[in-house]
């Protein structure tokens, strides 16, 4: 497949760029941060995103969605990255919808997918337990109980956990912590008895929560996919999220770079525009190349997911590793080249660095994904 966007995709990119620049620019993120907003996004923005078709971008048309793929979802996330727009896009439109599409029964799909597309139901993936991403490090236990299970455990890093209506919980029905086998995914209402959700204030001011499960009762109808075989489903869901994060990081890197290049053209020191200094020109030119590489890897990963390519996980790890390193470089260079003002909270560039760090860490950093990619090619 050619590594270019088709005409429809270019239209979506334009629509998304226009929408987020207008409805959820960096100033809106700053407002939410200053207001210490408990969920970190505006529900009105999410509603408007649903009207634009973004919330249901990956939901099949039969369930009221746009029936599009990861490439289109990635374009939305890239535009969100450029504007630092906060919304439950990743948690609900990518992770939630993908989990239901890939693992849900017809009934589960009919129950949830139309509401996701309408922007009326939010999901959060409660999977990670280790601080450093390790998807099968699941100690949360599903104890058999009557016709169902009782879930107990702690999920310390749940994206949009504070706003979610439903949780997708990874719990162990068999095996040891760290095993891929024996994991089961459960659909759990956020208001179920035994679920407590505590907001965690994080560096990027997004709505992250610690979710504690204390004997939460679930039955067979709440199982997503097959009992004991949730590891594979979880990986497939995570891969869509990772590729989406790569796209968001591409947006964060691209916008912080554009802002920095503008600054280099305006700021004067020693009687000259600082952008005329070769020490800065070469670093900017190098960064340009790095962002181009991240762009190629990300587009290939998103395309591979949509094509159902067997190599999709390989390209996803490539993209997450490369985009993660590049966005950290881009935002660190941005602050350094801005000098003192780059450290000032009044100036926006620091927000880009904060989001870059969080997005690079989420679902595996470049160390995790470089290693995963190497293992997949037998190294």
């Amino acid at each position: 497949m050619a590594l270019v966007l088709n005409d429809d995709q270019k239209m979506i990119r334009e629509a998304a760029d226009g929408f987020f620049a207008d409805a959820a620019p960096v100033a809106e993120h700053r407002r939410l941060r200053d207001a210490n907003d408990p969920i970190g996004f505006s529900r009105a923005t999410w509603k408007a995103m649903a009207e634009m078709g973004f919330a249901g971008v990956m939901v099949p048309e039969a369930h009221g969605g746009a029936g599009l793929g990861a490439v289109e979802a990635g374009l939305v996330l890239e535009a969100m990255g450029r504007n630092l727009s906060a919304a439950p896009m990743l948690s609900t439109a990518l992770l939630g919808a993908t989990a239901l599409v890939k693992g849900g029964t017809a009934e589960q799909q009919a129950n949830h997918l139309p509401l996701i597309a309408a922007g009326e139901r939010l999901f959060a993936l409660a999977a990670d337990e280790a601080a450093r991403h390790a998807p099968f490090h699941v100690a949360t236990f599903a104890e058999p109980s009557g016709n169902g299970f009782r879930l107990s455990g702690i999920k310390p890093f749940v994206l949009d956990g504070g706003a979610a209506d439903w949780l997708i919980v990874a719990a162990r029905t068999d095996g040891e912590t760290g095993d891929r086998k024996g994991i089961t995914l459960f659909l759990v209402p956020a208001n179920a008895a035994g679920v407590s959700i505590a907001r965690r204030s994080m560096v990027d001011s997004r709505g992250t929560a610690r979710v504690t499960l204390d004997g939460v009762e679930v039955d067979g109808a709440d199982v997503l996919g097959e009992v004991g075989k949730g590891g594979r489903l979880l990986e497939a869901v995570l891969d869509v999220g990772r590729a989406g994060l790569a796209a968001e990081m591409l947006g964060v890197a691209g916008q912080s770079f554009a802002t920095t290049v503008d600054y280099l053209k305006q700021r004067e020191q020693f009687g000259a525009k600082i952008g005329s200094f070769q020490a800065l020109q070469h670093r900017a030119a190098h960064l340009f190349c790095e962002i181009e590489l991240a762009r190629s890897a990300t587009l290939r990963a998103l395309q591979a997911l949509d094509a159902g390519d067997a190599q999709a996980p390989l390209f996803v790890s490539l993209a997450k590793a490369k985009a993660g390193d590049v966005v950290k470089l881009a935002t660190n260079e941005a602050v350094q080249m801005h000098g003192g003002i780059g450290m000032s909270d009044d100036y926006d560039i620091g927000f880009f660095m904060k989001r870059a760090r969080a997005a690079a860490e989420t679902f595996g950093d470049s160390g995790f994904h470089g290693d995963r990619m190497a293992l997949m090619i037998g190294y």
């Binding site: 200094f277 190497a374 190294y379």
Partner: protein
């Protein structure tokens, strides 16, 4: 349209099947497997000559050049199909040539009709081998400060000066050469582009030995070389525009626009050489390199796809040259580490002994030749990012 392309494919496949000798359907392994053509070229086999002659008669040594100049007159899409069909039977390139890669495109754009008719068919048929007279001892990255002079005397220019890093000057028949025709003009404006015969009186060459050993590079000396004025390409004083145009082609060639993906990866080699016996830091370095190498290959693919879709972002040849050559240098460093003390071998009785150390040393030049990495970064800063001049 698609039907036409498919009928062309069938036609090309049948013709290649009938005309490509079996011996020419194997990868190029040794230097003598490469056909450079030229007056003094010694073919390493009758099949090598047969293959060149057959392709040249068809115009397919330069498939996209016009038929009138010895080309095949193919469209971009047809040329791509031809390349695919050649790859499918593992056909060697019939002819490798600076005339094809570098001078030809510039001649097509800037040459007079008489120059095109004189030189292009001989390039296409592999009759004349060209070399490039650009760098001088005092003009490397600052190429426009070159001082080789060409002074008009009647219907001749008289050329005096010295070039350096002239690849295959000792084997080439003709040279395309940057000379200064106007000593008074600003440095970029006094340069002209001359074509002349290396057999002219007053031309001499001397080979350059590199840190990696013998090399195709030469120093080239001009002592009162008389060049007919009709060998001036483009207008006097406009040579710099041609030089820049041609350098873009050279950059794309060195940056590895083609073929880099056929080499085995460092991780595969490391696994073969070291097995599990590798320290985690070296493994981590190799993986980081491989992430960049994959992302770079995808970027070359994307740049080509965008060009094909008419979405070219332009000025990206500098990016590919810069990143590709730096990656290759890193790759050679890692291969040296993987092979440990064996990689240090310089000469020996075993086949291939010394190759790795020489390739490692030779690769140091990748980020120097054809415009240094620093010059590429300057170009990106100026043309892509539009950063202000110093």
């Amino acid at each position: 349209m698609a039907d036409d392309l498919e009928s062309f494919r069938a036609e090309a496949r049948a013709w290649l099947e009938a005309n490509c000798p079996a011996a020419m359907r194997a990868p190029v392994k040794r230097e003598e497997d490469v056909c450079w053509g030229g007056r003094n070229f010694v073919f390493s086999s009758p099949e090598q000559k047969q293959w060149l002659d057959a392709m040249a008669a068809k115009g397919w040594t330069v498939p996209e050049w016009p038929v009138a100049y010895g080309g095949g007159g193919l469209s971009r899409a047809e040329a791509k199909v031809l390349a695919q069909e050649m790859r499918a039977i593992r056909a060697r390139p019939p002819l490798s040539s600076f005339g094809i890669w570098m001078l030809g495109p510039a001649l097509l754009k800037y040459g007079s009709e008489a120059q095109k008719l004189e030189h292009l068919p001989k390039i296409a048929r592999g009759e004349i081998r060209w070399c490039q007279g650009y760098s001088e001892p005092g003009a490397g990255s600052d190429l426009a400060s070159l001082r080789t002079s060409a002074v008009r005397e009647g219907d001749h220019f008289v050329v005096n000066g010295q070039k350096v890093w002239t690849s295959y000057a000792d084997k080439a028949d003709w040279i395309f050469c940057l000379v200064r025709t106007d000593m008074a003009a600003a440095k970029h404006l006094g340069i002209s582009f001359l074509l002349f015969d290396m057999a002219s009186e007053g031309v001499s060459t001397s080979p350059i030995r590199l840190i990696s050993g013998a090399s195709p590079f030469c120093q080239t000396f001009f002592d009162n070389v008389r060049v007919p004025v009709e060998n001036l390409m483009g207008k006097a004083g406009k040579g710099w525009d041609i030089a820049k145009y041609l350098l873009t082609h050279e950059r794309e060639m060195i940056g590895g626009m083609d073929g880099a993906d056929t080499r085995s990866s460092v991780s595969q080699i490391a696994k073969k050489v070291l097995g599990e016996n590798i320290d985690p830091l070296l493994r981590a370095e190799i993986i980081r390199h491989e992430v960049d190498a994959w992302a770079f290959l995808l970027t070359m693919e994307r740049v080509k796809d965008e060009a094909r879709a008419g979405q070219g972002t332009g000025a990206l040849s500098s990016m590919l040259k810069y990143y590709g050559t730096e990656l290759n240098k890193q790759r050679m460093e890692l291969l040296m580490s993987v092979n440990g003390s064996d990689a240090l071998a310089w000469e020996g009785d075993n086949e291939g002994e010394g190759d790795l150390a020489r390739s490692w040393l030779r690769s140091r030049a990748n980020s120097i030749e054809g415009g240094t990495s620093e010059v590429q970064l300057n170009i990106i800063a100026k043309r892509v990012l539009a950063l202000p001049g110093a």
